[in-house]
């Protein structure tokens, strides 16, 4: 990736910038507080809504590309005939304002699945119509481990614009793609040229917590060590929290909902952590035990996906560790794998 341009943006210009984006027909997805729910949530930002860039979001912005529920087919009954109707593929031009470097990096993993032939055009259209404005992280918490998986709090990978705080209520805006350039050109009067501000950049320090190389080396060897995986997953309750808050996870289910007149085929999020995921109609379950499902989660992200697609299925955002009711803590598990004596 090569940077195209650098600009400065004052915090007071954010409101006017949002207005310009809206006027251009784009909807804005940004983190906000919702009711009494803890943390921040990616929602459509209306003119009256307040941006919340302080709090961690429970979910990543992946639902802007892969909604929790999405109609992929629509059909109706006409007497004995079945008619397939158009369903919504055209995506509204969108700006994600306030993604994090980790979430943005995860888009590559989603691309690898959905843009691989045959292309999933629902995803493709949304991807093409969306501009991603990422905010570098000025703060990190002990659950963050982006630097252990090849990322970082100011990693531009996948961003159209990367925004970094430089103090004095001002941001450095790095333009990395033509899409990002288009956004800047919508409101050039709101941006100032950027001078030498590198030393003022407010970026968190995220220490590397384990050796990814050792994890990748050890996983194939550890595969058959059933006791190892059983110990690791003793506390796991088998919910889907980790998979659903994860920006990389993309497995889905397909469900029909219809009445006598017709209905839809829907795509919805699913997780390999659930017992039903691999259950055959015969009753046979290739991954019938929770330890096998836990092993699959780790192997898929850190062994199979790298081998198959050349990318790690984890960006170190730490959401799984924050969401897990049993405090499984992925970093601890990965560290144990990296330090295992094989």
């Amino acid at each position: 990736m090569t940077m195209i341009d650098r600009k400065l943006l004052k915090k007071e210009s954010v409101g006017p910038l949002m207005a310009v984006l809206r006027d251009s027909g784009r909807r804005i997805i940004a983190p906000q507080s919702v009711g009494s729910a803890p943390g921040a949530w990616y929602r459509e930002l209306g003119p009256e809504d307040e941006l919340d860039l302080e709090h961690l979001t429970t979910l990543s912005p992946k639902s802007a590309f892969l909604p929790m529920v999405e109609e992929i087919l629509r059909f109706r009954n006409e007497g004995k005939r079945i008619v397939i109707d158009d369903c919504k593929i055209q995506a509204q031009p969108t700006v994600i304002f306030g993604s994090r470097p980790c979430d943005t990096r995860a888009l590559h993993a989603l691309d690898a699945v959905f843009l691989r032939q045959p292309e999933d055009m629902f995803f493709r259209e949304k991807r093409a119509a969306t501009t991603v404005i990422t905010f570098s992280c000025a703060a990190a918490d002990p659950d963050c481990f982006c630097t252990s998986v090849g990322g970082g709090p100011r990693d531009p990978e996948g961003s159209d614009l990367l925004v970094t705080g430089i103090g004095n209520d001002c941001w450095l805006v790095e333009v990395w793609t033509l899409k990002g350039k288009q956004v800047v050109e919508l409101a050039p009067h709101l941006f100032q040229p950027a001078g030498e501000v590198e030393t003022e950049c407010l970026v968190a320090k995220v220490p590397v917590r384990f050796s990814l190389d050792d994890v990748r080396k050890h996983l194939p060897v550890l595969f058959n060590d059933e006791e190892f995986w059983r110990e690791q997953s003793l506390a796991c309750l088998g919910c889907s929290s980790c998979a659903f808050v994860c920006p990389n996870c993309s497995c889905f289910d397909i469900q029909d909902e219809a009445d006598l007149k017709g209905g839809s085929r829907l795509r919805c999020w699913d997780s390999c952590g659930q017992k039903l995921f691999t259950l055959h109609a015969s009753g046979h379950n290739p991954r019938g035990g929770q330890s096998q499902r836990w092993r699959q989660r780790v192997m898929h992200k850190f062994s199979y996906l790298p081998e198959k697609e050349g990318l790690i299925g984890c960006v170190g955002c730490g959401r799984c560790s924050r969401a897990c009711p049993a405090d499984m803590n992925l970093v601890e598990r990965l560290t144990a794998i990296a330090e295992a004596r094989v």
Binding site: R81, R116, D120, S250, C251, G262, R265, F277, T278
Partner: protein
Amino acid sequence: MTADNVYQPYLMRIERAIDEAPGIKTFRLLFQDEESGKNFQFRAGQFGEYSVFGEGESTFCIASSPTRKGYIECTFRQTGRVTAALAGLNEGDTIGFRGPYGNVFPLEDWKGKNLLFIAGGIALPPLRCVIWNALDLRENFRDVSILYGARSVGDLVYKYELDEWGKRDDVRLATTVDPGGEAPDWKGEVGFVPHVLEKMNPSSDNTIALVCGPPIMIKLTLPVLAKLGFAPGDTFTTLENRMKCGVGKCGRCNVGKYYVCVDGPVFTLEQLQGMPNEY
């Protein structure tokens, strides 16, 4: 109709519905859109996702041969929600079909070789496709042997075709039922497939073995094939795993780094030996 939608099925009309065995049916399907029907091509080994609109989709192999144009056939056992809905449909009804998906049996690599088909129960359909494909191109292959077994006489599928194959002098057919499954007029073998295979003692020389059956049959048949000298690279089988999208995206059928729907369902024993046992 959005042509670009990978999840959109062809509309198919059930032209023929045949009761094969208790709970097992075969559908012959015609493409509602004639153009699509004319242009449709597939190869032996591939499968499809068959829809009952409003209930869902189910994964079956395409059980008819690609040499027979104009229609496709599928055979299924009533097991769950979608197959129950399918079983309730009649000739003239409409279902959906997405495909052809998956990889293929490399018949072109087998020219001049002997073919040995071993199947059990409801697992004959994936091999039936290859059998007819091979018989329609009979001059390409040397000996064609088929060993097919089921729990009982009533559970044999494609009974009418077994008769046909048995009558041909260019096919060596052996059918068997489990002990206790024979009928008074049963003229075939009685015994489990792996035992009958050992009795048959087929030569592994220049022979490709294709095995499809319930997990227990496969587990006991593979050692027999090994004993007979069949190389893992010359032993083919098909894997079944729970599937939804059929195109390598939903993640369900994932075994190690493979997707059964894209990298399979056809695998050699050699490939299986390099995969985690999660299928």
